[in-house]
């Protein structure tokens, strides 16, 4: 081999590498553009005067104001398969918050206990419980939604036949569904943290005479708070954002914010949707950043 071809191939390689690096930068710029352009457009158009066109007609806050002034007039929300569920944005927001707070509290308690059980105890049937934790994460949302609809319908029919009480889908059934899909996420987050925690700390406490509960309160939980908070935040976000399971488990009058927005998108597309979307984006941003403040790795879960 002579030196000349080697030099040539070295140059060629360097040239390819430079193209490769430039290409990577361009690709990343395009990919981030793809991720953020739609969001940016949404925010910008929430301030656009034009009602139907994409042309910029001037700045306005009208769409935000219209949200505050009886959002109910924005769209009469005819749910497919259900009856009319009217009401404005404020009742929907209130429903969403009630559901998210209650579901998060329940799912956080149940999920944390489950995470501790899986990581700190050995028991028969552990693989089955393991499957039970992962199944709700894997299964299609729509399957979960319709199965809860079938379940509640059947149970309510049974109750009515036995006692004469008429039960209906509503906020409680939505909460039950949200807890069911959130428990697993909390348990997974808590377990991930427990793996890194040396069980010796808890065993030492018990060797020193603390019982199971005192150990839980004084040793395990204090060490777990960041993970529990991350899990709770995840549950809260999942609940607040959920559309599919809510769609099948909410009856008339239990319209949450995503259901309200869905109704607007399907039946009366007005720029008010851009305004409400922008507000929801802002709220999500606050949630992500606050979770980052608590635990830098918290938001990585997904």
């Amino acid at each position: 081999m002579t030196a000349a071809p080697q030099l040539w191939s070295l140059r060629r390689d360097r040239w390819i590498r430079r193209i490769g690096q430039n290409w990577l930068v361009a690709h990343a710029a395009l990919a981030f553009g793809f991720l953020y352009l739609p969001i940016l457009v949404l925010v910008v158009y929430s301030f656009n005067q034009s009602r139907f066109n994409a042309v910029w007609k001037g700045f306005t806050l009208d769409w935000y104001i219209s949200l505050l002034q009886g959002g109910g007039s924005l769209g009469l929300l005819q749910r497919e398969g259900g009856g009319l569920s009217g009401g404005g944005i404020m009742p929907a927001l209130q429903n969403s918050l009630v559901v998210a707070v209650v579901a998060t509290l329940l799912a956080t308690v149940l999920g944390t206990l489950l995470g501790i059980a899986m990581e700190r105890f050995r028991f028969p049937g552990r693989p089955a419980v393991e499957a039970l934790i992962y199944l709700p994460i894997i299964i299609p949302e729509i399957t979960m939604g319709v199965s809860l609809l079938v379940f509640f319908t059947l149970v309510f029919r049974l109750v009515e036949n036995l006692t004469g009480w008429r039960l209906n889908l509503g906020l409680p059934t939505v909460i039950i569904g949200h807890v069911a899909f959130s428990i697993s996420f909390v348990a997974v987050v808590v377990r991930a943290r427990l793996v890194d925690l040396d069980p010796v700390l808890e065993e030492a406490a018990m060797d020193l005479g603390a019982n199971e509960w005192k150990t839980l309160w004084r040793v395990t939980l204090p060490l777990l708070w960041p993970a529990i908070f991350s899990g709770a935040l995840l549950a809260f976000t999942l609940s607040l954002d959920d559309f599919v399971v809510t769609f099948f488990t909410s009856g008339v009058g239990a319209t949450t914010l995503p259901l309200f927005v869905y109704g607007m998108i399907k039946f009366s597309v007005t720029p008010a949707i851009n305004a409400i979307s922008t507000l929801m984006l802002a709220a999500s941003l606050v949630l992500v950043l606050s979770s980052l403040a608590v635990d830098r790795d918290a938001v990585r879960f997904g």
Binding site: H27, P38, V41, E80, L114, P140, V146, F151, E212, R300
Partner: protein, 292 residues
């Protein structure tokens, strides 16, 4: 000294175990497993009119799934989900690679930019594409103003719109596992390969790609699973020609009120998802076993 290596149960009471374990497992059994079981049961029963069932066992619902109309919708869902997964790999891998090669500050900032969409409302993010794709939407307005097209292109309510929506919705699910595998990848191996005479392309295909394949597989599963069972995206961005299994299930439960058929569809969708997931766990267990 030896307590750390002993099974934890040796020092912990069985009563405590029940308190930790029972609440969640009961909740999941009653409000998750039992409903699924009922759907499985319903899928084997005849239709009883108006969302009811006829208590007679039949495989008729599953046979109905094999008719061309339903089979076609299953194929479409599978096709769109696979297309979405492939696009996400092609877009996500170079992106994750780029992020990993940045300095620590840039890395966490760029990663945050990938994560933010994951935490924002899926419905809202999907809706954003309506503004871009519709007749008088942003894309058509721009195309018309620069005289690239004379009449607005029909973009919304097409398979293209659904694919864009799915890629947009699930791209972060691909980038995050790819990032964490690439983050753990030892880049001195690249230098080693090149010292041994491999060029860039060969280094990538023979060293980097095989060693990060686990992240690719994990990312593919995380994208494929929600894509194949998608409901919101085809519902909002799609039209009659882009009906996916999710829309079909919703239709059977809320409009056609044929719950047994809807149940059979749900079970078929679940099977479609569980097969690759179980295969993944089986293979990764074997690999883990082989290494230990």
């Amino acid at each position: 000294m030896t307590t750390a290596t002993l099974p934890a149960s040796s020092t912990r009471s069985q009563a405590a175990l029940l308190v930790f374990l029972l609440p969640a497992t009961l909740w999941l059994s009653i409000f998750f497993l039992l409903p699924l079981g009922i759907v499985l049961l319903y899928s084997l029963l005849g239709q009883g009119g108006n969302a009811g069932v006829n208590w007679q066992f039949t495989l008729g619902n599953y046979q109905q799934l094999l008719t061309p109309v339903y089979l076609g919708i299953f194929w479409r869902s599978l096709g769109l989900a696979l297309l979405t997964t492939v696009i996400c790999v092609l877009v996500g891998y170079p992106l994750a690679f780029f992020i990993v090669r940045q300095s620590a500050t840039w890395r966490s900032l760029l990663l945050l930019l990938v994560i933010i969409p994951f935490w924002t409302n899926f419905l809202v993010r999907t809706y954003a594409w309506i503004i871009l794709l519709r007749q008088q939407g942003v894309i058509n307005t721009v195309l018309e103003s620069v005289r690239l097209v004379d009449a607005p292109l029909p973009l919304l309510f097409t398979p293209l719109a659904v694919t864009i929506g799915l890629v947009y919705g699930y791209l972060p699910f691909m980038v995050l596992p790819l990032y964490s595998t690439l983050e753990r990848f030892d880049f001195t191996l690249v230098e080693a390969a090149q010292d041994l005479g491999a060029n860039d392309l060969r280094t990538f295909s023979r060293v980097v790609l095989p060693l990060t394949s686990r992240g690719i597989v994990a990312g593919c599963l995380l994208v494929f699973i929600p894509s194949v069972g998608a409901f919101i995206t085809p519902d909002i961005l799609g039209g009659a020609k882009t009906v996916m299994v999710g829309n079909l299930i919703q239709n059977q439960f809320l409009k056609a009120l044929n719950w047994p058929l809807g149940s059979a569809l749900s079970m078929a969708l679940m099977a479609l998802i569980l097969i690759p997931v179980l295969a993944y766990f089986r293979v990764s267990e074997q690999q883990a076993g082989g290494r230990v």
